[in-house]
Amino acid sequence: MLATAENPVAASAGISARLLESMVRIRMVEEAIAAHYPEQQMRCPVHLSIGQEAASAGVCAALRPDDLAMSGHRSHAHYLGKGGDLPAMIAEIYGKATGCCQGRGGSMHLVDLKAGFVGAVPIVASTIPIATGLAFADRQLKRDRVTVAFLGEAATEEGVFHESVNFASLHQLPIVFVCENNLYSVYSPMSVRQPAHREVWQLAAGHGVVSHQGDGNDPLAVYALARAAAAHARSGQGPVFLELKTYRWREHCGAGFDNHIGYRTEAEYLAWRERDPIKNFERRLKASGEFDVLRHEQFKARVETEISDAFAAAQRAPFPAGASLMNHVYAAS
């Protein structure tokens, strides 16, 4: 589904459909996880990206398959957008031996090296310097890859974010920092964490890094920003920082809705639901005549099957054997 190196997405023909499909697929997977989660068979924390699909879809569509990406605790969308293996992800969330980490990681530790998704970890901001190191190695080894570091806006509060951006700026590394600003860190609003009188993108600008703010719910806007950013980074002009404004619909962790508990208002939530990246984009494509109903329905049907197959396989799959507990503590040299 993603572009190949020979057929880069730079050719914008069909991009709208691809963006829509990527978002829809992510949404459908996340909804399926939400639906199954109460069965208590996915026994690990899950952080869903419903409402934030445009960021992953738009950014990943601007990348080459051999480009790299890393993420944090909320990584399903990025993994899927980058082309990560769906059954391996679902099995991993189920803690199964067939999972992408053989069950050792769970939802917060996804990896698919074939897809260039190098990993995600739940310590906020910890993959940002690692992603910077990927870009550094590519620069040292004269590869023309780009690395994307996906992060939440709370990650910009961690010092290591700044240390990474400084290093990337110093060495003009081929990295794009993609910050999904969804206004919250768990239940904590921006007002208790960051000064009201400056924007997140200004932090990176302070480091001398090209920085943009964009509508994180508009996949085409994201795609345009990301294409320019990837081109900039790939051409050796240095890192780019993108702040994408968006909103998570469901609770921070888990499958439910939690506006009622009081950390944010129902009105705010409803206003953002109005800005549903998928519905709005569909509407736009319909208006411009770019929406192919049949193709889209067929796509959804295919994904439906893909998802139910993935869940069925994950549920069927064996748990890792207790005897394998000590495997992989060290790599054999």
């Binding site: 999972g99 990681g105 950390y263 207790g322």
Partner: protein, 355 residues
């Protein structure tokens, strides 16, 4: 006059300890990611912000290192702050302010300054907390002179040690195990302290000494019950305070039983269990009748999958098996059996996820 006692959960006891401290001393300040949020930090801070105001019960940026330093400055300049971490793993970003700064300021500035700060950390376990949300590094802190390190097991001790920690003029690392929060016990109302240092005799016995702390005391007591069924009378010591460490209770017990098993909720290599065995070997060598034993995490990161984490965490049965070994009794196949239907990855029976 002893204050009135009620049954409270460990989480409620912590919350009450905070309320007492905030009430008594206007300098006390609570800081931490999510401290004022609706989930109330596993119920340990619920409504404290409403009660004491947003100036004293505060959220913060996601910046553990910097905020730890900020707490040190606040402590030097008239406040008595408590920095709360939902996971010990997050505090690992702040080893410099905790261990290189806070622990050393009294000493290296020749006693000119006091550092009344509490670093509160919760040990994660279960429901896929996995490799990065369940590290148990109490032994790291215990390794550092200048820190005090407490790990209460009972609601009574949780409240009393929390208040003692807040009232202490030194940096105290206060570590809770997530699986203790729902445990109920007698808790006196109002203000009281449990002194930092003395261990607690959790169960008297004569055949073997089991030393444990935090959640592992519960497993040790369960092990003692099982051992009693086999005619083995185990003494259980709840260490409570890792630094300073109460050697006398420990050594007196080993002198009596001659056998030692240490149950730690962490890794073994250069950990607290090694320390306790070293102390017994150095100072009660003549009393020891058999090789002491450790019950610790296997030497691998915490896996996420429920089957692997069930294999990873030592339970009462592991302690029973270790006791049999040190008593030179034959092993029992069923010590490590898991009862059918047991869910070993839940913090408490009511838990349904997600965190």
């Amino acid at each position: 006059m002893k204050p009135a006692s009620r049954e409270l959960t460990y989480a409620a006891a912590i919350r009450e300890g905070f309320a007492v401290a905030l009430e008594r001393d206007p300098r006390v300040l609570l800081m931490g990611l999510g401290v004022p949020d609706p989930k109330g930090f596993f119920g340990t801070t619920t409504d404290l912000q409403k009660q004491f105001g947003a100036d004293r019960v505060m959220d913060m940026p996601c910046a553990e290192n910097g905020m730890s330093g900020v707490m040190l400055g606040a402590a030097l300049n008239g406040l008595r702050p408590v920095l709360n971490h939902q996971r010990l793993d997050f505090a690992m970003l702040s080893m410099d302010p905790i261990c290189t700064q806070a622990a050393k300021w009294s000493y290296m500035f020749g006693g000119t300054m006091k550092m009344p700060v509490v670093f509160r950390m919760i040990l994660g376990r279960g429901w896929g907390q996995g490799p990065q949300h369940s590290q148990c590094l109490h032994s790291w802190f215990a390794h550092i002179p200048g820190l005090k390190v407490v790990m209460p097991t009972t609601p009574h001790d949780a409240k009393g040690l929390l208040i003692a920690a807040i009232e202490d003029d030194n940096p105290v690392v206060f570590i809770e195990h997530r699986w203790l929060h729902h445990i109920k016990g007698e808790v006196p109302a109002g203000h009281y302290t449990v002194p930092i240092g003395p261990a607690r005799l959790a169960r008297a016995g004569s055949d073997v000494t089991i030393v444990a702390f935090s959640y592992m005391v519960l497993e040790a007591l369960e092990a003692a019950e099982k051992l009693a069924e086999h005619g083995i009378d185990a003494e259980v010591i709840d260490v409570r305070s890792l630094r300073p460490l109460d050697q006398s209770l420990l050594l007196a017990s080993v002198a009596k039983t001659g056998r030692l098993v240490v149950a730690d909720t962490g890794h073994s290599t250069a950990g607290m269990a090694a320390e306790i065995i070293a102390i017994a070997s150095e100072s009660a060598f003549g009393s020891l009748k058999a090789a002491p034993r450790r019950v610790c995490f296997p030497e691998c990161p915490t896996p996420t999958s429920p089957t692997l984490s069930a294999e990873f965490y030592p339970r009462a049965g592991h302690i029973v098996a270790a006791v049999r070994t040190t008593l030179q009794r034959p092993p029992h196949d069923d010590d490590l059996l898991v009862p059918a239907g047991a869910e070993l990855d839940k913090p408490n029976p009511a838990f349904t996820g997600p965190f």
